[in-house]
């Protein structure tokens, strides 16, 4: 068999490098004729730019792992390819661990535009020392928001610039989705022609944000600042993605006892959580490269690949076999209890909604900007919801024809 060389791109090497290296090592033993060149970008955003820029000239990347919410954009621009035929050719997807739930994470543009590689969901990090000093019990943290707020106020009362809680609302709409989905809401209507968040669920989400400030005493911090404050032992509870777990552990070090737990429940029945993470999408057009790239993608999302991924990152597995069969990951979770919080929420994970059309990224920015008004207490949730609704509506693709 002929030697093939493929170029594979992924973002956030800080988080993912070890996992890809491990997978590549295992893959090389299996397919010695396939050589992989790696291209990385610091974050998803630049990864997206890289692929789009290349699309405008000549593509050199054959396989790219992109953030879930960006996949739609590539699908709509005809860069990502439908993977279902390839998958079908190998047999029943579900038997290979690609359950419909998992496939749906990367189902955009009406076809299977990618295969989920790693998934994450928001969790709560907390400083067990502070919780104890404030009279809380680290082993039985509050499971609803009012409880959190009370604990937060008690931690703040410790003084010396200590803050109680911080919720990672800035950046993109992911954490807002968590609040919205937690209420059982959704972003757009079924046919994607109109918004659906302007109802009671959306208002609930924004009110909850408002209460975090009013009742929980949440300070106005940037995300990096919050993370630093947390690492410095000055922040009690920190709500953010499980993906940051490894870095946080490193920063915290021996400063205090770091613990994690699930997100507080909002609506026990309809409440869901958005899924972050990456999916691989196939770009290669050249037949040989395409085949080789597919082989790697398939392997990286197989039970074996997923196991390696989880062991080296802390993400939630995205292969049903790896989740179900204890031989893959049970041992790992026993040894790393901090990583369990995310898996305990895996059952309520749903895809991170990606907006359609050209303005998809802008929509998320608009939502963040609007939330800032609440956090800075410059507007009520009702005002914000109304404006957010009208602005997002304006940015949605106008129905053609």
């Amino acid at each position: 068999q002929q030697n093939v060389e493929i170029t594979v791109h992924y973002a956030q090497p800080v988080i993912f490098k070890e996992s890809y290296d491990a997978i590549a090592g295992a893959f090389a033993r299996r397919e010695p004729n396939i050589r992989i060149n790696w291209v990385t970008t610091p974050n998803y955003e630049e990864g997206m730019q890289l692929i789009l820029r290349q699309a405008a000239t000549n593509l050199t990347v054959d396989l790219s792992y992109q953030g879930f919410n960006r996949l739609r954009l590539f699908a709509e621009r005809g860069i990502a390819q439908d993977l279902m035929p390839l998958l079908r050719a190998e047999g029943d997807p579900a038997a290979m661990g690609y359950s419909p739930n998992i496939l749906s994470l990367a189902h955009f543009g009406g076809f299977q535009s990618g295969l989920a590689y790693a998934a994450s969901n928001p969790i709560m990090y907390f400083n067990a020392d502070l919780v104890r000093r404030a009279g809380g019990n680290p082993d039985a943290m509050p499971t609803d928001w009012p409880g959190i707020f009370q604990l937060s106020q008690r931690i703040r009362a410790l003084g010396g610039g200590t803050e109680g809680m911080w919720y990672a609302w800035p950046g993109d709409d992911w954490m807002f989705s968590a609040l919205l989905f937690g209420h059982g809401g959704r972003m757009l209507s079924e046919d994607e022609r109109d918004i659906a968040f302007a109802g009671p669920e959306g208002l609930g989400a924004l009110r909850l944000l408002d209460r975090m400030v009013k009742e929980g005493g949440m300070p106005n911090l940037a995300r990096d600042a919050a993370q630093q404050a947390f690492a410095a032992g000055r922040l009690g509870m920190f709500f953010w993605t499980t993906a940051a777990l490894r870095g946080t552990m490193q920063q915290v070090g021996r400063n205090f006892e770091l613990r994690t737990t699930v997100m507080p429940v909002i609506n026990a029945e309809r409440g869901r959580l958005p899924t972050g993470g990456a999916a691989g999408m196939l770009i290669a057009r050249d037949a040989a490269k395409r085949e080789a790239a597919w082989k790697f993608l398939r392997f990286s999302t197989s039970a074996e690949g997923t196991t390696l991924m989880v062991q080296n990152t802390g993400y939630v597995p995205t292969n049903q076999l790896a989740i179900d069969e204890p031989r893959w990951l049970a041992e790992f979770y026993r040894q790393n209890p901090l990583f369990q919080a995310a898996t305990r929420q895996a059952n309520i994970m749903i895809p991170w909604y990606a907006f359609p059309g050209a303005n998809s990224v802008r929509v998320t920015q608009t939502m963040v900007d609007q939330q800032a008004r609440i956090v800075e207490q410059r507007a009520t949730p009702e005002q914000v919801l109304a404006e957010m609704a009208s602005e997002v509506r304006r940015l949605l693709p106008r129905p053609r024809g």
């Binding site: 956030q12 820029r53 000239t57 490894r246 490193q250 920063q251």
Partner: protein, 271 residues
């Protein structure tokens, strides 16, 4: 006593200015978990300098980055000077049709942010198969309108009779540029050299676009790679990398300083 006051004021201001650097240096000596401890201590509790710097030197090809930086900055600087000095001289001291237009173009060029022509340039380089070469790093920056403007300003203050004398002595305009104008604008040339090198040494935007991988990575890009691939939130090591990459610039500045002190005197002239 006035001079004492002056030095005190300078020292106080200097401390303020140094603060971020002090933090960077201090951080490069600390382990990550010490870094954000609430009452910050300047010196680390447990010295992690060896770990941090060792990690940088071990995990990234520092020498390669520095070499790439040197080639890129050197190449850019040479061409910028080659293009800008004659142009600056012509704009300052020669009268010719179209001069005002050219100066207008310079002023316009000053306004154009690097991002604007970036995409077309990228496409051209890509079409020419130049991506990931030194040429790709150097070529787009070879023209510096900043330099043209700077040299024009400094050359304009040169006494006209100096140039007249040179013409009588048989120098052509090109010879005047290099033999009379430039030697009398050394501080400006040095200032520009420093800025050019600093700007490109630290530039992330363009190298990130035209290079992939370590092979042609510049120092700033190296830091970025180090952060994204290795260090992540290991601030201590990251700051160690920053310190290493910044040090050559600081050294270069210290060496170039003398050029500012050496005043250019116009005592060749009377009146």
């Amino acid at each position: 006593m006035a001079s004492g006051l002056r030095i005190m004021a300078l020292a106080a201001l200097g401390l303020l200015f140094m603060a971020p650097y002090v933090w960077m240096l201090a951080a490069s000596l600390k382990a990550t978990d010490e870094l954000f401890r609430a009452p910050m201590a300047l010196l680390p509790e447990s010295w992690a300098a060896i770990t941090n710097y060792g990690r940088v030197l071990r995990e990234v090809p520092v020498g390669l980055y520095l070499w790439n930086g040197l080639v890129m900055c050197g190449g850019i600087l040479v061409f910028q000077l080659l293009f800008a000095i004659p142009a600056g001289y012509a704009l300052a001291k020669l009268r010719f049709a179209g001069r005002d237009w050219l100066f207008g173009a310079v002023m316009f060029g000053l306004l154009v942010p690097a991002h604007v022509p970036a995409l077309p340039l990228y496409m051209a380089l890509s079409a020419g198969g130049w991506l990931n070469t030194y040429a790709a790093l150097i070529v787009p920056s070879t023209i510096s309108v900043f330099a043209i403007f700077l040299f024009r300003q400094f050359f304009r203050s040169l006494p006209q009779d100096l140039i007249n004398a040179a013409r009588l002595d048989g120098m052509g305009e090109a010879a005047i540029v290099w033999r009379v104008a430039l030697p009398n604008a050394w501080p400006a040339a040095t200032a520009f050299a420093i800025f050019s090198v600093v700007a490109h040494w630290n530039d992330l935007f363009w190298p990130l676009i035209v290079t992939t991988g370590h092979e042609r990575a510049t120092p700033a890009l190296g830091v970025l790679y180090f952060r994204t691939e290795e260090a992540g939130d290991d601030f201590g090591a990251l700051m160690a990398a920053c310190t290493i990459m910044t040090a050559p610039l600081v050294l270069a500045f210290l060496l170039a300083q003398r050029r500012f002190v050496e005043g250019i005197s116009t005592t060749g002239l009377k009146g």
